[in-house]
């Protein structure tokens, strides 16, 4: 199971969006994720019995910047997630997931970098908006796509990122145990809360 740290999403956008809502060009603004928000979640399906496996972890750490861009703004940020924090509710499953498949001893964190998420105004982000980023997971860096949405004000914003990860793309062996095999694609949801610095 992977965790995708798609922090990007709306969190950062909340910062300084009010300035941008009027189309004004403003100086770069920075923000950081709050540590006490909701944690990352993933959902995988185990076959053949179509077992839904849900894992939950800690909130992400992030540093984001909101930069002026022609016609609006763009978001740049880095998001980091502790894979060790993931919990699927069953101890043996957690152990297999972390030690055997995700190899947390070698790759304790996952990181997502967004370099160029453009938008015109914050209202554009209240509904799910597509993004493209680079995910580093299990020692493999690959481009991924997802969606995010955000709501907030000048000081804080909360949002959610969603995306899917193909285990094979990141060199993760397909988890299998006692006749249950996890499907290759895992859905990830990243709630984010960001405060302006």
């Amino acid at each position: 199971m992977k965790k995708q740290t798609n922090y990007l999403m709306g969190l950062i956008l909340g910062l300084g969006l009010c300035d941008l809502a009027a189309g004004a060009v403003s100086p770069a603004q920075k923000g950081a994720c709050l540590p006490n928000g909701n944690g990352v979640e993933f959902e995988a399906i185990g076959k053949p019995s179509l077992l839904k496996i849900v894992g939950k972890g800690k909130p992400v750490d992030c540093e984001v910047s909101l930069l002026p861009d022609s016609g609006g703004s763009k978001l740049v940020g880095k998001f980091k997630f502790s894979i060790e924090s993931l919990d699927t509710g069953i101890e043996l499953r957690n152990k297999h997931m972390k030690e055997k498949y995700l190899e947390v001893g070698r790759f304790p964190t996952a990181e997502l970098e967004i370099k160029d998420l453009k938008f015109k105004s914050i209202s554009d982000l209240s509904s799910e908006t597509a993004f493209v980023g680079t995910l580093l997971l299990h020692g493999v860096s690959k481009e991924i796509q997802g969606t995010f949405s955000v709501k907030g004000d000048e000081k804080e914003a909360t949002g959610e990122a969603k995306f899917e990860v193909s285990l094979k793309d990141f060199g993760v062996a397909i988890p299998s145990f006692a006749g249950i095999t996890v499907s290759e694609t895992v859905k990830v949801r990243v709630p984010v809360s960001v405060r302006k610095q």
Binding site: P48, S49, L50, K52, G89, E91, L92, F177, A178, G179
Partner: protein, 381 residues
């Protein structure tokens, strides 16, 4: 939304408990996110032989003392057959021994009995998309033990979602409780020894399931289940660790026809911040029965079952129980109610101990509560 749904489940549970009178499978595995019985069992309706995953979960999440993580204790005969040496055509094999010490006491009677309930061996063979299961053993009927093929079925898996099954096995509207003496099973005519010829088609996804059964009359005229019928069940998991189910059954036997409408809910209410060690199981069934004798009126009856489980330690669950049954809703004297408590203990894989005590009031016998208690010992190989 999630919190609201869980709150509705709790309210429903309380309604069941306080509603004024005028209603082997382990369903509570839902609290671990297992809403489909076939995750752990070969049978899509639950109960019976465990598959390899079910064997592992019996150790990992059900047993108080797990044993070695990489051991083979949880498998058939303590590892005589395990995944690495089991032939590919043998999907599952499981032996079951079950006995109960029963006690009943009220104004008119005080009795007890030790009843060897079950001694079975189920073998499931597989080839490609086909499974074939047969169960041989002894079931006690009154003072006699009958040794024979107790049940069997063939199952064809069209794909991951759809399967067709036919054979001789039991069906039940609602949740397949292992306690077949519960009124929600026995009073509906789906208690013990209800295996009959059935054809079934089922569809399951990770969030919902649909099953349709055609139950045929056993050709043996002495068979206890002369009723034929059609059963349709649908369940959905609207939020994590919750299963809501509705079933409709239409039955026809030589004396009457009847319709059974069943509604049930199982949930681990972790969504409200309440401990995941708590689960509740609630079921209500409404029956319309019409005799085939001319002039006999329609009889409406109802049965209700509510249970709150608390797993105080892994492998040890205590529960509170409420049952109500009324064979004719227009006649209060046909009502019976029970309040009880019990405990279920899985000390180690292969073992189960369960005890239950209920105070039972049967209006036809008066307004006093009697006592029904039992201690069940279950060992599966």
């Amino acid at each position: 939304m999630k919190g609201a749904l869980v709150l509705v489940c709790w309210v429903a549970a309380l309604v069941f408990v306080f509603h004024p009178s005028a209603g082997f499978a382990f369903p509570d595995m839902v609290r671990h996110g297992y809403i489909n019985c076939n995750t752990c069992h070969v049978s899509p309706s639950g109960g019976g032989a465990l598959n390899g995953y079910g064997r592992e979960m019996s150790r990992e999440i059900l047993s108080m003392w797990k044993g070695a993580e990489d051991g083979k204790e949880q498998y058939f005969a303590y590892g005589l057959l395990h995944p690495e040496n089991t032939p590919v055509w043998l999907k599952a094999i499981q032996g079951e021994v079950r006995a109960v010490q029963f006690h009943r006491e009220d104004k008119t009677v005080r009795e007890g009995a030790f009843i060897p309930m079950q001694t079975d061996l189920e073998v499931v063979l597989t080839h490609g998309p086909l499974d074939f299961s047969f169960t041989y053993g002894g079931h006690r009927v009154k003072q006699d033990t009958h040794w024979k093929v107790q049940g069997f079925y063939g199952m064809f898996h069209f794909n991951e979602l759809v399967r067709l099954r036919a054979g001789k096995f039991s069906i039940t509207p609602g949740i397949k409780l292992p306690e077949h003496t519960a009124w929600i099973r026995r009073d509906l005519g789906f208690g013990e020894s209800t295996d009959s010829p059935v054809a079934e088609i089922s569809w399951f996804s990770e969030k919902a399931g649909l099953t349709a059964d055609l139950r045929m009359t056993d050709s043996n005229p002495e068979a206890p289940q002369p009723e034929k019928g059609i059963l349709a069940s649908f369940y959905v998991s609207p939020i994590e660790k919750t299963r809501i189910q509705t079933s409709v059954y239409q039955g026809d036997d030589p004396k009457k026809t009847r319709n059974v409408y069943s509604f049930s809910a199982l949930s681990g209410p972790g969504g409200l911040g309440v401990s995941d060690a708590l689960t509740f199981l609630g079921e209500a069934a409404f029956i319309n029965s019409r005799s085939k004798l001319p002039g006999d009126p329609l009889v409406r009856s109802r049965v209700e079952y509510l249970r709150l489980n608390y797993e105080c330690l892994q492998g040890l669950t205590v529960y509170g129980l409420r049952e109500r049954s009324q064979s004719n809703v227009t006649d209060l004297k046909t009502e019976k109610e029970a309040w009880g408590a019990g405990a279920q203990w899985f000390p180690r894989t292969h073992f189960e101990v369960q005890m239950q005590v209920e105070k039972v009031k049967i209006k036809t016998l008066g307004d006093d509560f009697g006592t029904v208690a039992w201690l069940m010992l279950h060992y599966y190989l």
